[in-house]
Symmetry: C2
DNA sequence: CACGATACTTAGCCTAGCTAATGAGCATGG
DNA sequence: CCATGCTCATTAGCTAGGCTAAGTATCGTG
């Protein structure tokens, strides 16, 4: 009981510290295509959705529009994402992954030699299952 | 089988995206004492260890020494951490939490009205257990 | 006691967030 | 039919948090 209570009380702290340290470690080993986490995540969303406006992408990624402008700017510089004008609304812009962007995404999806993938391979199947479930919970918490 | 294989293949991506979105969401709701994650994490390590040199703290937090200099600088400005000279080695410095720092830490440890704690309270016990286990795994991965 | 190694900091750079302000385009009410 | 107000994206400017490289002081040793 006491142990359970303590666990619940300190879970926020434990989780926060674990995540920040994990993030720092993972950042050092730049993933596929020398893209940052933010860039990779935005590219993933775009790839899955097909095409989005900056506003939609920002909402999906849980950032403010100006932040997304920056991230998309970087991706566009590298030719991974293209901006095209909206057909009927001159204010909006349509974002979509280019062929090269799709190639990077595909590479990333099964980059088994990448740092994180290697780490995950070393875990037991049960541990991977735990992480998969935790990822789903974290997404849900972020959404709420 | 196929599903398992796919899960293993895409876990890296899933986990990365979940963590980045969670982090962004959590950052918006600044935790206790208006401290950032980095500052809170450093304060936690210091608190648990009692006293550390900047190098030790940097190693523990998985950052480079100059980064820790900055973080400690912020904490010192707020009077949460004190630098004292090392008794025998003039090059080194001893970092320790001040009384105020310990108070903030204690507050943080059971801040059940904080955004993240509230979110966690809404989960089922099984989900919290999953997150607790995942936190341990992430720490281990970050260490390796 | 000079010289290399170590500890911390400083300097300078980048990414990634944010808010506030700007400018362009849409839509609507008189 | 156009003035006015809203929405969308971007720009400007700020902060935090990373990094490497260089600087400075101190230690320890040959």
């Amino acid at each position: 009981m006491t142990a359970e209570r303590t666990t619940a009380d300190t879970l926020a702290k434990t989780l926060r510290d674990a995540i920040i340290r994990f993030s720092r470690r993972a950042r050092q080993a730049r993933p596929v295509g020398d893209l940052t986490f933010s860039q990779l995540s935005a590219l993933t969303s775009l790839q899955l959705a097909g095409a989005l406006t900056p506003r939609e992408l920002a909402d999906m990624e849980r950032v403010q529009p100006p932040t997304m402008t920056k991230i998309v700017g970087k991706l566009e510089e590298r030719g991974l994402v293209a901006r095209t004008p909206h057909p009927t609304d001159g204010r909006q812009v349509i974002l979509a992954a280019t062929d090269e962007g799709r190639a990077i995404y595909a590479l990333h999806e099964r980059a088994r030699n990448e740092w994180l993938a290697v780490q995950l391979d070393r875990l037991t199947p049960e541990e991977r299952e735990t992480l998969a479930r935790a990822a789903e919970i974290l997404q849900r918490v972020a959404r709420g």
